[in-house]
Each structure stands twice: as C-alpha cells, then as structure tokens.
Amino acid sequence: MLYLAIVFAFVFAPIITSMIFSFNSDRFPTVPLGEFTTHWYETAFSRPEVWEAMQNSLIVALTAATLSTALGFATAYTDYRYNFRFKSAYIALALLPPTIPLVIMGLAMLAWLARLGISGTLTGIIIAHTVMAAPFAMAICRLRLSQMDPALEAAAWNLGASQWRAMRSVVVPFCLPAIVSAFCLTAAVSFDEFVVAWFVSGLNKTVPVVILEILQGNVDPQINAIGTFVFLTSMTLVVVAQLLITRRRKA
C-alpha cells in the first residue's frame, strides 16, 4: 500500500503542482504561494489563438474518435466473425501503429499528407489521429466481442434477422459499452497528442501545439491553466472509458 501511494504521488505530483500554480497569483512558480487567482485562466482563454486551438482540437478529437471507433469496431468484428489465411498478420498489422516511434510517425505522415496536398489542414490531422487511435478502439471492441456468446448472433438470424439487421439489433447493442468507451479513449488520445500534430498541423494548431508555442517564449502560468484544462478533459474521457469497460452487470 505504501509503495503504491509513493508511486501515485510520484506520478501525479507534477500535475497537481501545475494545477496549484495555475491558481497562484505569482508570476513564477515558487513557494510560498501568492494569492488565489483565476487571472491566468482569464488571460489564457482571452487569447484568440487558444480559442482557435481549442476549436481545432475539439473538431479533430470528435471526428478522429468517430472514424477510429468505426474502423476499430469493423476490424474487431472481422477478426471475431471470419477465419482466413494470414489472419494473424492482419491482426498484427491492425495493432501496429502505436508501436511506431512518434517522431517517425510524424515525419512519415507529414511526407505522405504533403504529397496528398492535405498537410497543414484539419483533415490531415484527423487522418493521422485516426490511424493512431484506431488500434485502441479495436482492442476494446475485440475484448467485448470475445465475451459475446457465439450463439447470440446466430439466434438473431434464426429469428429472422438478416446479417445487417442482426448487426444493428444485436451485435452493436451488445458492444455498445465498448463502443462508447472506445470513442472516449480515442478522443482522449487525439486531444492529447502532440508530436504528430506538431508535424502536420501547420497553421491549424491543436491545443498541445499551442502550449508548446507559448512555452517557447517564456515560462508563463497561463500554461498551467491550459494544461490543467487539457488534463481534466482527457482524464474525464479516460475515466468514462474505463468505467464503461469494467462495469459489470449484476447477475
């Protein structure tokens, strides 16, 4: 228990510190603390580039989450339902993106999207994030499908449901907690993601990219304010995702 507490303290200390300083009136992060203030939030959110980045991040996160969840679910279902040659290669390939170093991924994406003429656009970031997040969605959906009684889908066909109808009225409802959870998690992945976004964003910056730009000039408590906001948004999404996965219905 003690070790666990130490580990948690170690992991969360920087974030908690950042949160505390985001409400501190002093210009520099030093103790003793100054007065409580929301000044940094006000200044940060009064900057047009922050608002624009928020908007971009939101559009990218929601679209990429939708796409990667759909893609992840489809991939997982293919794995569940069909057997074919090279299936293990198919699964390995589908799960590959998170293992690629982010810098390489970012560079490759930049080169590829530039060739397609969409680097620097939101579409470009959405595509990059969809590729990166889809494996997570697939893993979650796959876990849920593995809990599904194989007779369930057959029972739907047996009762007169066509393949599509059975998918819509049985498989998707059964997987719904996983699908929502995958959506939240992929949205969080996209919302947080910096490296690849930095490579491909161009003028359409997302929040993490703007944070770095503010930081490059000077140490500014506004960073703490934006950071706290980003952290809480992602955490909420991840916690919701986690709750949906682990929630067990009482028998």
Binding site: D149, A151, L152, A154, A155, A156, W157, N158, L159, G160, A161, S162, Q163, R165, A166, S169, V170, P173, F174, L176, R249, A251
Partner: protein, 351 residues
C-alpha cells in the same frame, strides 16, 4: 404417401478433411417429436444447424415442406431454435426478447404486444415483461427462450440440448413442460441431446447418431429392447452385452453355456436389459452366470446392482428394494445372474 415435413437426402458436412456428417437420410413427419441422440461429436448438432441454415451442407439435400432449402439463408427459414446457451439477448427485457422475431417480420407494435402477452402467459411468465433476462432464474430463462422461439408460431421447433444447463429437478419439470407444449401445439419438435433419459422420456421417435452416421431409428422402447449393435446398446445404457459363439441354439460366453433359442450359428453379440435380469443367491435350475457384486445405485424407485462377470465384464441387474434386502449384497459376494429365454436380443456384430 404424403410428403414429410422434413426430408434429408444424403446430407453431408465436412470441415477440411473431417467428415462431421457422412451422408444421412432422414424423414421427419409433421407433428412428430423426434430426438436426435448421440455422444458429443457424432454430428447431431451439425445436422440441426444445417436444418436451420446456420451451416451450409457439403453435399446432399434438405427439403422442408417439399421445398429445397439448401440455398435459403437462415433468416428466411421459419426454423426457430432453442439454444444450449439459450442465447437470450442480455441487453433486452423479457418482452423485447420474445418480441424479437415478430419485430424482424415487421409486425405492428400493437399486434406484437398482444402476441407476446399471450405467450408469456402461456409459459407462466406474466408480470416479467420488463425484467432483464439476467435477473431471471434458470427455469424462467428457459421459458423465455421457448416463448421467443414459439411466438412466431412456426411449424417446427429445434432444440439443441436445451436442458443441459439446468439442475436435475428442473430438467424433469421442463421435460413435462416441453412434452405438453408439443402435444398442445401439434408442431414438430426436433430435439438434439446426448442424454438418453431426456430423449426417451419425451420423443415419439429417436434417431441415434454415431460418427456422423445414423445408426438406428425407432421408437424409444424398440431401441431400448432391440438395439441394432453394440454402439447403440452401450449408448442407451443399462444393458448387458455378451459376445460369444452360437452353436445349436446355445451361446457360449466365456465358457458358460446360455440358451439362445432360434439364433443362427456363428459369432454373435446379445444384449439383455438390466430389468430382465434375475439375481439369486443359489445357482438356479436354468443356465446362469456367476458374478461378483461390485456396487449398487439407486435410480428413482429401482436399484441397479453392478457385478463383475466371469470374464471381468460389467454386468447390471435391476432389483427392487425388497429384493436388495433379501440379497444383502456386499462387495466381493458371489451371485447368480439369469434371465428368461425371451429376454436376450441378438445384435448385428460390429467389427
């Protein structure tokens, strides 16, 4: 002759090199309660799945109501099934589960509600409409599964080991429910099971399958009294099987001469049901096998005694409680087993 409801001709199914069903022929009449029985892996479930359109046959033909069904997809066949796992939809209420088939057929909501209500009442589930299926007991879920399959009023119902997950006392009760339901509805039940007692208690006709083939078809009583070969006799259970050589109306089993009037000379296998065996303390006047008592087992009101025969084979005899008291068996004690001359049934010898 009228066209049977279901006709299978030379039906085959193979998975790669494995032949699960090796060309079976079977006719099922309308209104019949038929049990397909066999050990696991005998092809009985595969046959049922082909009937329901969940597996495509590798060869042969399936006719239902005179119509060739081979290429009709599952959802266009009116062949509802009760699954071993029940396969109730866990995210739907009892009503929504039962309603499913009607909804797929596009019935208006009011008619769906009415028919669901009728079936829930019929199966003693009124008041459970809004319950979640995982909040029900095993027996209740069983009845929801039945209601879900029968609400569309099909001509036949397939049941794939539906009682295997239930407690023993519930099994007996559900057997009663199923038998009565089948008689009241007058529709065909095709019941797949590995349980001899379930099949024999309910079915009009039993089909015994082994290694992808039909070994014997007949009324439960006939299969029990006159199994075609050792496989059936062993599968049906509570039978004594003797292998020996017949010469002049007498069979020689491990040196013991037993009368077998009318049997052809040569090697033979005979079967004597446990309830046709007589156990005595003294050697009777008729020919008898001397056997060593091993154990007893209470089966309902009767008792099955197990013995070891002269050749080390297991022998079974059914006795009453009164007889058991008189015999006072103890492990190792010797008894004499005999039977009436008409008790043995001569089987086809399997190599």
């Amino acid at each position: 002759m009228a066209e049977p409801l279901v006709r299978l001709t030379d039906l085959k199914k193979s998975y790669g090199n494995f032949e699960a069903v090796k060309g079976i022929d079977l006719e099922i009449a309308a209104g019949e309660f038929i049990a397909i029985m066999g050990p696991s892996g005998c092809g009985k479930t595969t046959t049922l799945r082909m009937l329901a359109g969940l597996e495509a046959p590798s060869g042969g033909e399936i006719f239902i109501g005179g119509e060739r069904m081979n290429d009709v997809p599952a959802h266009e066949r009116d062949t509802p099934m009760v699954w071993q796992s029940l396969a109730l939809f866990p995210f739907l209420s009892v009503r929504e589960n039962v309603e499913f088939g009607l909804k797929m057929r596009g019935l208006p909501k009011r008619e769906r509600r009415e028919r669901v209500a009728v079936w829930l009442e019929r199966l003693g589930l009124e008041g459970f409409e809004k319950r979640r299926v995982d909040a029900l007991s095993g027996g209740q879920r069983q009845r929801v599964a039945l209601a879900r399959s029968l609400v569309t009023e099909p001509k036949m119902l397939f049941l794939d080991e539906p009682l295997s997950a239930l407690d023993a006392h519930l099994v007996i009760r559900m057997q009663g429910v199923l038998s009565k339901l089948q008689k009241d509805l007058g529709i065909t039940f095709v019941y797949v099971t590995h349980s001899q007692s379930e099949a024999f208690a309910m079915a009009d006709r039993v089909v015994i399958m082994g290694h992808g083939e039909i070994v014997q078809t007949g009324r439960p009583k006939d299969i029990f009294r006159a199994p075609r070969n050792r496989f059936v006799a062993e599968f049906v259970g509570r039978n004594n099987i003797f292998a020996g050589t017949v010469a002049g109306g007498v069979i020689n089993v491990d040196g013991t001469q037993l009368p077998l009037p009318g049997a052809a000379d040569g090697p033979a296998e005979i079967v004597v049901a446990a309830d046709r065996m007589t156990v005595s303390l003294e050697r009777p006047n008729t020919a008898a096998l001397e056997a060593e008592f091993v154990s007893e087992e209470f089966v309902g009101t009767a008792i099955i005694c197990y013995f070891e025969g002269p050749g080390g084979e297991e022998l079974k005899a059914q006795v009453t409680e009164r007889e058991l008291e008189l015999l006072a068996p103890e492990p190792g004690k010797h008894f004499f087993l005999s039977w009436e001359p008409d008790a043995p049934h001569v089987m086809a010898v399997t190599s």
